[in-house]
Symmetry: C2
Subunit: 273 residues, 2 copies
C-alpha cells in the first residue's frame, strides 16, 4: 500500500495522535484517474470548510501540491487523505501550537459491480438514526461511529447501500453516499444543516444539473416524500451514480433524469457510458 | 512514555487501524495508585457495555490481566486504554473477523491544583451542545469532537471546566467530568440516555451515597434546576470531586454534602482529606 505521512513514506502513526484519541480530524476519499483528481477542487473546498469549523491550522496550498505528487505515484485508484490535529497533550483542549498531521494512503479503485450503476440497487432501511449536530453537519470528520453502526445492520449483499434518517425521521443520505430524488422534473437532495456529509459528487451533480437547465432544490425531505418520488438515486465520489430501484415494498424504475445525470458525469470517473 | 499494543511495548500504530479511520472503538482513563486500580471493576463494566453496543469482540478477562500487568509497571499515574476494532477493510462495514487492538499508554497523575478540590471551581458555559444519540449515550467511545470543540471555547485558566448541555438545553455534564447537584438533601445527576459519558466516579459516588443513606436521583435536569441547586459539584476518575462555586452570575458556597462525599471517596485516589 502506498502510504505517506506528512509527505514522506510511512506506515505507522505515533500513539499520541489526536485522530486516534478523539477522531480529531477530517478525511477525504479522492478518486484518481490517470494521475488526475477530477473532483480535487471540491475536496479541497470541503477540507477548507472543515478546517475552519474545527480550527485546524491546515495549509491548503501545500496540501494540494502533496496530493498532486501522491496522485502522480498512484496513477489510478483511491487516495484517502486523513488530516488530524497532530499530537496531543493530555485532555481534549486543542494544543495552542498544534501542527496538523497529513496521512495519505493509496489503493486500487473500489470494485463495485457494474450492475449497480446499470440496473440499480436496493436500499437497506437502517434503524440507526443520525444525531443532529449542526456544528459538525456537512463535514467529513473522523467521528463515524453512526456509519459503522448503520453499515453493521446488514450483511446481505442484495443491499448495496443503506438509507439513513435523522432522529426526527427525515431522510438524509446513504451510509457512504448522498441521496437524490426526482419529483415532477425537479432534482431534490436533503439539506445537510443538522447532520450528514456534503459529498463532492453531490455538489458536482447539483452544479451540472443546474447548468443543463434541470431545476434543483436542497431542503428537508420527509420519508413520505421519498416514497412518492418518481426517481431515486445515490451518488459518491468513487462510483458516480447508482439508481435506487427498491426500498422495502417500494419499487422504482431507473428514470430518465437519473440516466441523463449519469451521462453528465461519465467523464469524471471514466465509467463507460 | 510506557506504551503497549496488544500486550507488547510499541509506540506506533498501523495506519489501517479503524480507531484512526472512524473513531471505531472505546477508551478508559484509569487511575493507578501504588500499582492498584481502585475503579477497575467499573471501568471493565463500562467497557463491557460499550463492546456489546458496538459489537466489538473484546475478551474482558484477558484485558483485565493485561491492565493489572500494566499497572504493576506504571506504579502511580494514569493508564489510558484504547480498544479499537483493529485493522479495517475499506469502508465502514465492521470486518466479520475483526480482532480488537488494545493500546495502553501510561503517564504520571494529572497535576490539577489542589485548590480546585478545596475551594471549588468556576464553570465555563459552553455553547457547544451535545447531540442526542441514544445508541452511543453513556459510552466512552472515540468520537469526541464535541468535547474538543467545547474545550476549545475557553483558554482562561480561571475556568477549570465547562458546562455542556444537550440540544434541548438540559444540563448534562462537564467536558471531562460528570455533574452532580444537591437540592434539599437529595443528590441529583443527569440521566445519560441521550448523550453524555457515564463516568466511573459518578457510578462510585452514586453507590457510596446510597450506602450512606443519602437519597439519590438520576433523571433529566433543566438548566433552571441547576441554578436553584443548593450545591453543585463535578467528578471524574482522576481528580475525584471538585465543588462548583460559580457559573456566570450564580455563586455557590462549598456545601456540606459535597464535603461529605469528598471524604467518602478519599481512599480511592489517595487525596489528602
Amino acid at each position: 500500500m502506498l502510504a505517506w505521512i506528512d509527505g514522506r513514506p510511512a506506515e505507522q502513526l505515533p500513539l499520541t495522535d489526536r485522530g486516534l484519541a478523539y477522531g480529531d480530524g477530517l478525511f477525504e476519499t479522492i478518486a484518481v484517474r490517470a494521475t488526475r483528481m477530477p473532483l480535487l477542487e471540491r475536496h479541497l473546498a470541503r477540507l477548507a470548510q472543515g478546517a475552519q469549523r474545527l480550527a485546524l491550522p491546515l495549509d491548503l496550498e501545500s496540501l494540494r501540491a502533496e496530493l498532486e505528487a501522491f496522485a502522480d505515484q498512484l496513477g489510478d485508484g483511491v487516495a484517502k487523505l486523513i488530516v488530524t490535529r497532530g499530537d496531543g497533550l493530555r485532555g481534549y483542549a486543542p494544543p495552542p501550537a498544534a501542527r496538523c498531521r497529513r496521512i495519505l494512503t493509496g489503493n486500487p479503485p473500489a470494485a463495485y459491480p457494474a450492475a449497480h450503476r446499470e440496473r440499480g440497487v436496493r436500499l437497506f432501511p437502517c434503524a440507526t438514526r443520525l444525531a443532529e449536530q449542526p456544528l459538525l453537519a456537512g463535514l467529513k470528520h473522523l467521528n463515524r461511529l453512526e456509519q459503522v453502526l448503520a453499515r453493521g445492520e446488514w450483511q446481505d449483499p442484495a443491499f448495496a447501500e443503506g438509507l439513513m434518517r435523522d432522529t426526527a425521521g427525515r431522510v438524509v443520505e446513504g451510509v457512504f453516499s448522498n441521496l437524490f430524488l426526482v419529483r415532477e422534473g425537479v432534482l431534490l437532495t436533503p439539506a445537510l444543516k443538522r447532520c450528514g456529509v456534503a459529498g463532492t459528487m453531490r455538489a458536482e451533480i447539483l452544479a451540472r444539473a443546474a447548468q443543463t437547465g434541470i431545476a434543483t432544490q436542497v431542503r428537508d425531505i420527509d420519508h413520505s416524500e421519498l416514497l412518492v418520488a418518481d426517481e431515486v438515486f445515490l451518488c459518491n465520489s468513487q462510483y458516480g451514480i447508482w439508481p435506487v430501484v427498491a426500498l422495502e415494498e417500494r419499487r422504482w424504475a431507473v428514470g430518465e433524469t437519473t440516466r441523463k445525470l449519469q451521462g453528465l458525469i461519465d467523464d469524471l470517473l471514466g465509467n463507460s457510458p
